[in-house]
Amino acid sequence: MSDIPHLWVADCPNCIGGRFFQSCFLSRFRFRSDRWFAMATFHTRSAARFMIAPSVVLLFAWMIVPLAMTIYFSLLNYNLLNPGMESFVGLLNYQYFLTDPAFFAALINTLVLVAGVLVITVVGGILFALLLDQPIYGQGIVRILVIAPFFVMPTVAALVWKNMFMNPVNGLFAYMAKAVGLQPIDWLATVPLFSVILIVAWQWLPFATLIMLTALQSLDEEQKEAAEMDGAGAISKFIYIILPHMARAITVVILIQTIFLLSVFAEILVTTNGGPGTQSTNLTYLVYAQALLQFDIGGASAGGIVAVVLANIVAIFLVRLVGKNLEA
């Protein structure tokens, strides 16, 4: 305790030193026991900064260097197959990317894809978590069954769904439809984006379930029982006790999944190649088409920057919406 300075200053809030202390430090922290946190703060803050430093520095370097190079490339007319012929073209690449007729469709598809998968996985995750929280025989096995899809490589998952299930002639869904006398749906041609959403949601459902289950199982039994004794039914118990407790978990799921869903790519490449037309093209696929099909590095870099800007906008919007759940 001897390494904590200014203790006497904090003890006299009205003297000048005390007021300085208050305004500089206390106002920044929202802890329950302000006084003894204030004591610890000075020491902790510099230690804290030192501890965050490695991650921040590494991530900064990781982000800045490729970002700078990407911005640089986006201002060039750089086709990988014509190296040595780059010329500075300013914002021309951006102009081309944004006026690409596929751009707007890709943007909408990206948002629809993210929203669709989020809805399915959050709702499904909560339901599965509730189910797995119940006392059942063989809980361990069911848990692994539900979590398993997360372990499968996206490419393989997409191939299995495309060929084994969604093929309108040989696939399992077609077989089942024909067995009951219905016309098989041509999934990938008529509802391509929805098919992709299904495949991606199947892969991410385990992640959501796991996180939700974690949160659910940290809920007090006593709280639930107290509510029951007060006469609360299952539904109101769910809405007023369980759901708020899971708020942070839901937020984590939404935020982390959004990051990954914005750059869904393998599934689209394997199943529909962005088609028919541009119905299942998302921004990442559009950038891929520029980078690795046309080898237009300038255009792809511009596309990448646009995607980052848009993703940041989505993220800020999301955080505003659910970010408050992250505070204690």
């Binding site: 190649n273 088609g275 690795l292 046309q294």
Partner: protein
């Protein structure tokens, strides 16, 4: 955490030193060179991988490291590597699309030193012209294909039809409709519909050649607004609507192969290599009922077949040219073909590259489709693919770097037209617009 990274670096350094020491120690015995070969994972290459012991026996001191990947991934990796001079691969597998482009840029080593036994003149002329520049060979072909018609003899007999050796498109359409029986899940014709420059566009471009269409005129202006392309696409969409399987717009080679092998297609126009699959009783339920014919035409002088070859090439500036040349010479020689025949039968000999293979009586006996394949390949001319003159080479593609992106985007439009989501006219209009846009951006159209 920093110490951990240093430790890893140390490991690399230590391994490097160890490696250097052992390399020097062995220098006296034999200089073991390792060739890293990037290749596509088709049946012929996989077979070659299994036969590497033969190469090692003939060339002690050269080790082979295989990187086998799916075609699209391979193309991306290899192109990225050679364009950035990454130097990761010593022998590359590239197609007849890349060879002209890369040879022009000077990225490939001309293959003059393949040995006295190589017999360059034995290579099929159509393929050879596609991979040479100024008379020099820039890549060595190990696999060649064209496209042709595969049909069900039993279904044709039942409908009272006889397939000529060189049918016309009108005959094909008529036959397809007669053979279709949707209640029994028999579709008259299965064709590619999946979007992609090497998927549906390979087929449609080849088909359009026979209709007299072309991708660009001599000033590089796209030609989708011309009547020939309209005829091609309308014919294709109507034919598939009447006689094609459901879900055709996501069917590529594999899907159609599965359909044909399970007896659901009356006809299938696709790569000649498919013949060996559909005629194989181990995989195909209709193996004994298949007949072959040349790809159809419209009487305008060009048939609707394409030309493709997988070739082995050496990046310019490679440090291992001698070893690489030895490998390439081994892999694409007549001896290699004999080796495969010995170990796995003539049916599995790599097709489509040498005249001598097709003159071989054993091969002709084992492969009923041999003559048709040879005729198909010989009738394709990558330097003059279309009826009207064009500024590009390539039968089912345009050998410019931008084609992959443009071809795929146009393929998406045509796939949507096949799925019935946009009309043929809309698809052609979109194709015209986007191609013009890209070609202007790339500087072809002034």
């Amino acid at each position: 955490m920093l110490t951990l990274i240093f430790w890893e670096e140390d490991m690399t350094l230590r391994t490097l030193l160890l490696g250097a020491c052992s390399a020097m120690a062995f220098a006296g015995m034999a200089s073991a060179e390792t060739l890293t070969i990037a290749t596509v994972n088709n049946g012929d290459m996989i077979r070659m991988q299994k036969l590497t012991d033969d190469f090692k026996a003939k060339n002690p001191g050269i080790d082979l490291e295989w990187v086998t990947l799916e075609e699209n991934v391979l193309r991306q990796k290899v192109t990225t590597d050679i364009a950035t001079k990454g130097g990761q691969y010593d022998v590359l597998t590239i197609g007849t699309y890349e060879v002209p482009i890369w040879a022009k840029k000077g990225w490939l080593l001309p293959l003059d030193n393949l040995g006295a036994n190589y017999d360059v003149d034995d290579l099929l002329p159509a393929i050879r012209s596609g991979i040479s520049q100024d008379g020099k060979l820039y890549a060595a072909p190990f696999y060649g294909e064209s496209s042709m018609v595969m049909y069900r003899k039993d279904l044709f007999d039942a409908a009272g039809l006889k397939m000529p050796d060189a049918p016309t498109w009108d005959f094909i359409a008529d036959a397809a409709k007669k053979v279709t029986n949707k209640d029994k899940e028999i579709y008259g014709i299965c064709l590619r519909g999946k979007a992609g420059w090497g998927e549906n566009m390979a087929f449609l471009t080849a088909m359009s050649n026979s209709f007299g269409a072309r991708w660009f005129d001599e000033q590089w202006k796209p030609q989708f607004d011309q009547p020939e392309w309209k005829d091609t696409l309308t014919f294709y969409v109507n034919l598939m609507k009447e006689a094609g399987p459901p879900g055709a717009s996501s069917n590529g080679f594999n899907e159609n192969l599965a359909l044909f092998q399970t007896g659901k297609c009356g006809m299938w126009i696709d790569a000649t290599v498919a013949a060996s699959f559909v005629a194989d009783p181990k995989q195909s339920q209709v193996a004994d009922k298949v007949g072959f014919a040349l790809a159809p035409d419209k009487g305008l002088g060009k048939r609707g077949n394409w030309l493709w070859a997988w070739n082995l090439a050496i990046p310019a500036g490679s440090q291992k040219t001698e070893a690489a040349e030895k490998f390439i010479a081994w892999a694409t020689s007549k001896d290699y073909t004999n080796l495969v025949a010995e170990k796995e039968g003539w049916l599995n000999a790599p097709p489509g590259t040498r005249t001598s293979l097709y003159a071989n009586a054993d091969y002709q006996k084992a492969a009923s489709f041999a003559k048709m394949t040879l005729d198909s390949i010989n009738s394709a001319d990558p330097t003059k693919p279309t009826v009207k003159p064009v500024p590009y080479v390539g039968v089912q593609f345009v050998a410019i770097p931008e084609f992959q992106g443009i071809g795929t985007a146009v393929g998406q439009q045509f796939s949507a037209a096949l799925a019935g989501q946009i009309s043929v006219d809309q698809a052609l209009q979109s194709a015209q617009q986007l191609t013009t846009r890209e070609m202007t951006k790339a500087g072809y159209i002034k």
